[in-house]
Symmetry: C2
Subunit: 282 residues, 2 copies
């Protein structure tokens, strides 16, 4: 069995970007990271993060904001970046993902504004009151190898499910058996199915990979992301991650999803918040 | 006494922008909104929000992200906007604030990426588990008219203090008398000093107007914002606002500040998160 490491995994191959000219990258949106027909927003974010990591002088995303404009489809895409400012410790840039309509016209999918830095150069101080989420042990959570009646699968063809190893806290998986808790909570263990360890880039995928909290709130429709901001706070240790997502306010057809990602050494490695629309099933 | 309403207040005059050509605006950063020498980040955000409100077809900010690049100074400035996408219910744009160095060269201060919509057109549904912050009654909080020993003033010349009516929860004002609580919390009542009622634009100021939570954590240095994202969730009712800010994770020299703003009718009207650097006093 081949050793899957950071750099040679399916995630790395599918987020590869090829520099065409300075700041402009060719990419191919893989059909492997779709939910029903939509390309996953976290996968797109990782792809954009990779292009920005090449375009900017600093290696690691510190704060990344994406506005989702139109639905991406598997196939070719172009990423255009702009360096906004280069400082000693941080640099800021933008990235735009475009695809092409049948008539050749450009359609923008995603606009990103991000500040990068060097996570390895930060001091070691930690003063946190945040606590890792209370998630049952891995083997007690519900995943792809659970019994059919307990397996939390999103109906429809979800290719991304084969690439992720998500094991949900049973307390937040009621939606899968028609018994949502009513609470705006989603928690679980997260890994890439091929065993690739997490890094700052894959954390951009992780924050948008669990089922929407709206499912546990009893909503059955689509929950498209309007905007997603992720802060990468620490380089993750090897091993499984824990993700906890909370929604406190659903109002006027919009809801926020706050995600925290914790690594195997109990460090808070990422915080994200997204604004999403709750679209009722027609 | 003149009636101060939305449109004729000092806040409105100081956030005025003049369209020079389509999408390009002249502005003047007022010295009235400075903390020591720095122009307040929330005031800058409101100014940018006003330009975007003119450039985009929708009136209200729904999600606004700003990356703070260099320190703004009072004086002339130019805002350049770009319309990224125009949809039926939402539109997305960018804005860049620049000032000019002595040699005439441009220095970018702030880059913004935002999605606008129409808060008045949203459905009335609310399903929230969020609760208004527990803040003592207005008259028991500490403000500009409190006794000198209790008045929570940031040392140095803070012109902005004359324009805001902030009354801090005594439980989060210990820093002002050398006894910080050690907790990453800051809470208080917020209004504009001249009595102008809140609107979505002034909420962009409100989320960055309280003293930094770092003061209550016992840090004495500067806490410059790297990135600030604000979601405007509802049009605020007239009357005083309540603001609660929480920091859970200070690590590697960075901390997040999560703010919630509640209006006089107990509606959660804004949520924001910023990533800031903790710079120790030299």
């Amino acid at each position: 069995m081949a050793l899957v490491t950071i750099g040679n995994s399916e995630f790395d191959r599918d987020t590869a970007v090829t520099r065409r000219t300075p700041g402009v990258y060719d990419a191919h949106l893989s059909a492997g990271w779709t939910i029903i027909r939509a390309v996953n927003g976290g996968y797109l974010l990782a792809l954009m993060g990779r292009a920005l990591g090449d375009a900017l002088p600093h290696p690691d995303p510190l704060s990344v904001t994406a506005h989702y404009l139109t639905a991406s489809v598997p196939g070719p895409a172009v990423i255009r970046t702009e360096v906004v400012r280069t400082g000693r410790a941080m640099s800021t840039g933008t990235a735009s993902l475009v695809q092409f309509a049948d008539d050749g016209s450009e359609v923008e999918r995603l606009r990103v504004l991000a500040t990068y830095g060097d996570l390895g150069a930060l001091p070691d101080d930690v003063r946190t009151t945040a606590k890792p989420p209370a998630i049952p042990p891995y083997e007690l959570c519900l995943g792809p190898d659970s019994a059919p009646g307990e397996r939390p699968a999103i109906p429809g063809s979800t290719a991304i499910a084969d690439r992720l190893n998500i094991r949900l806290d049973p307390a937040t998986a009621g939606w899968a058996v028609g018994a949502p808790s009513g609470k705006g909570e989603m928690r679980g263990w997260f890994g890439l199915a091929d065993g690739r360890d997490p890094d700052p880039l894959s954390l951009l995928l992780t924050v948008d990979a669990l089922p929407p909290t709206a499912f546990e709130m009893g909503l059955s429709g689509w929950v498209p992301t309007v905007e997603l901001t992720t802060h990468i706070r620490h380089r993750p240790a090897p091993g499984p991650l824990r993700v906890a997502i909370t929604t406190r306010n659903l109002a006027g057809g919009f809801l926020e999803e706050d995600a925290e990602v914790w690594d195997a050494e109990d460090r808070l490695v990422a915080q994200s918040r997204q604004l999403a629309r709750a679209v009722q099933a027609g």
